[in-house]
Amino acid sequence: MPNRAERLSRILLSLPPGLYLLLLFAVPSLMMLFASFRFSGEYGGLAPWYYIEDGQFTLDLTLENWQRLFESDIYLGLLLKSLAYALATTLICVIMAYPLALMIARSKKRHRDLLLLLVILPFWSNFLVRIYAWMIIFSPQGALTAALNAVTSSLGLEPITLMFSGTAVITCLVYVHLPFMILPLYANLEKHDHRLLDAAQDLGANRFQCFWLITWPLSLPGIYAGAVLVFIPSLGIFAIPDLLGGTNGIMIGNVIKQQFVESRDWPFGSVLSLVLTAITLVLVLLAAKLGSPAGENNGKK
């Protein structure tokens, strides 16, 4: 049982983050929840949530916005598509990041800092600038497209376009988020005790079995951590599909932004945001449960 001073210091320490979450997450989310049941105002924004007629107080709320979500396939379809894009991004990131993280973790100590620096080097230039760079790479006049089409036309196939497609969006999503997978994975792999691999080999495991039975399961917490860092921003992103996706590569983030900015339909924008937030929260909780180290997770006495 912690004593009073300890409890007090705990409360004081958790006060700033607690307040931060309350004011900037919980309160806005509740405001959005409220907004999702209101009508939108004549010139955008929100209509009053009650009116008084003949001295009679009447609530002016509606379920219309939520019904609209389910009335057509568009929004749920877009939500599913966004989930698929984010999932594909995460999987590709795992596949690409794992060998690299493993290589860095097993390289000589004095090389590791340099290799990690190279991983985070892209952060030194602006996010939007890097997306514009991909616009140049993918553009129909770009060298990449030209080279690919030289091949396709020589094979007698239709010319292809890279720009404004789901492929372009996923490619850029992977590019932007790859470091967020590499770093937690590296942090995990770097801590592995190489003697465990010696022991496994000594007990008869070949190189593949050593990896699959020892390194891989021990690195799962790192993968879950990286997956959260890649999946969640990928799911809600709108800048990349805005610039590279065109109409084909549109994601749920674009629609939400559209509702708030262009359509000025705040209530429906709130509905979509809340659904996205709920999905994200569920996935984070799942990852947190999976991501706690195996020994600790199962080691509760």
């Binding site: 005790d193 003697r195 465990l196 010696d198 022991a199 496994a200 080999q201 000594d202 007990l203 008869g204 495991a205 070949n206 079995q209 039975l213 020892i214 399961p217 021990l218 180290p293 195996a294 020994g295 600790e296 199962n298 080691g299 006495k301």
Partner: protein
């Protein structure tokens, strides 16, 4: 069963092993003993296959091991750090080497249960390694290495992380386990007490070479050289010159003590004028205020220079004439008294001509 023939291993300029040869018998508890850096762990890694020999050959049952990877050798290692897999339960850890072979699941379960009985931890099967104490982890590590009956079990300082009491208990368990299972053990340690207590035979190593291979009692009472005498147990090393040689006895001259008789070492032919060293264990020296001696004893007078009270015994450092220091040991067995002498007390020491052992 295991033959190590002229094995050398160099790391750059450092010679970790220099033409080491030894022969380990089936069913033997064999110990590699030496100070850190003597090459004992390097040799163990070569046997396990984690490292490659530069020269020489390692044969198991007459077949060369050198071309085999660690996972192909019928040899398992118990690591100093235990190296239990943290994401597997005790049962899964023990089943690991069995899963690497084509053994059916029910058989594996049976073997795991059996070996858990052998190491007296049958109720820990479902626990994870971080829920176990140091001694329990050690037993699981041994169980895991023994479960599929390797030809050879290598143990790399397996008890060094345990406290003294537990270590002693584990030593007894190791001896019994080895006797029961009958698998050949090669044990690496820098702890000479542990080596003496556990082993059938010990190879004392120094600077990449083997100093002596013998049974513990031979190693202790008849060391081949100064290094072994000094490394194993407490020992007085007195530099001397041979004065005269008879059939079974030599007369030597020790600086500061004069001439005295000692039994000859049948292994070494000394000639007059040779330098040698008399090794004399502290417990073989008689110590009293006043001593009567027999014909084949030598007697010296001195005073207590220093003392180390160890509970059961006290080690007295006796200063003889000309500043020669001799360590002697007395059991604190007098009823009602904790020790017999104090610093500065005048005492006499004596030893039998047979008590010392002469080395080159």
């Amino acid at each position: 069963m295991l033959e190590i023939i002229d094995v050398s291993r160099r790391f750059g300029d450092f010679v970790a092993l220099d033409k080491v040869s030894l022969n380990i018998q089936a069913g033997e508890f064999f110990t590699l003993l030496g100070p850190s850096g003597c090459g004992k762990t390097t040799l163990l890694r070569l046997i396990a296959g984690f490292d490659q020999v530069d020269e020489g050959e390692i044969l198991l049952d007459g077949k060369p091991l050198t071309a085999l990877n660690p996972e192909q050798r019928p040899i398992h290692t118990v690591f100093q750090s235990y190296a239990l897999f943290p994401h597997m339960t005790v049962a899964e850890n023990i089943a690991f080497p069995l899963r690497m072979t084509k053994i059916a699941k029910p058989v594996i379960d049976l073997m795991v249960r059996e070996i858990l009985e052998d190491v007296r931890l049958p109720d820990k099967a479902k626990h994870y390694p971080d829920e176990l104490s140091g001694g329990q982890k050690q037993r699981i590590a041994i169980a895991r290495a023994l479960v599929n009956r390797p030809r050879l079990l290598l143990l790399d300082e397996p008890l060094s992380a345990l406290d003294a009491k537990l270590r002693e208990q584990m030593q007894i368990e190791l001896i019994n386990l080895q006797k029961e299972i009958g698998i050949t053990f090669v044990y690496v340690t820098h702890d000479q007490g542990e080596a003496l207590a556990l082993s059938h035979r010990i190879a004392v190593m120094n600077k990449g070479e083997i100093s002596q291979i013998d049974e513990p009692s031979v190693l202790y009472s008849c060391p081949d050289n100064r290094f072994v005498a000094d490394f194993i147990g407490q020992c007085n090393l007195l530099d001397a010159t041979v004065v005269s040689v008879a059939e079974k006895q030599l007369r030597i001259s020790i600086a500061g003590l004069g001439e005295l008789d000692v039994c000859a070492n049948p292994e070494i032919d000394f000639a007059v004028g040779d330098t040698c060293a008399l090794t004399l264990r502290p417990e073989k020296i008689r110590l009293a205020a006043q001593l009567d001696i027999t014909d084949d004893e030598v007697l010296f007078s001195g005073k207590v220079h220093d003392m180390l009270y160890l509970g059961d015994v006290t080690v007295y450092i006796i200063e003889l004439a000309n500043g020669v220091l001799i360590e002697a040991m007395l059991a604190n067995d007098a009823p009602g008294r904790t020790r017999l002498f104090d610093t500065g007390d005048a005492v006499q020491i004596a030893w039998h001509t047979d008590a010392g052992h002469l080395v080159a």
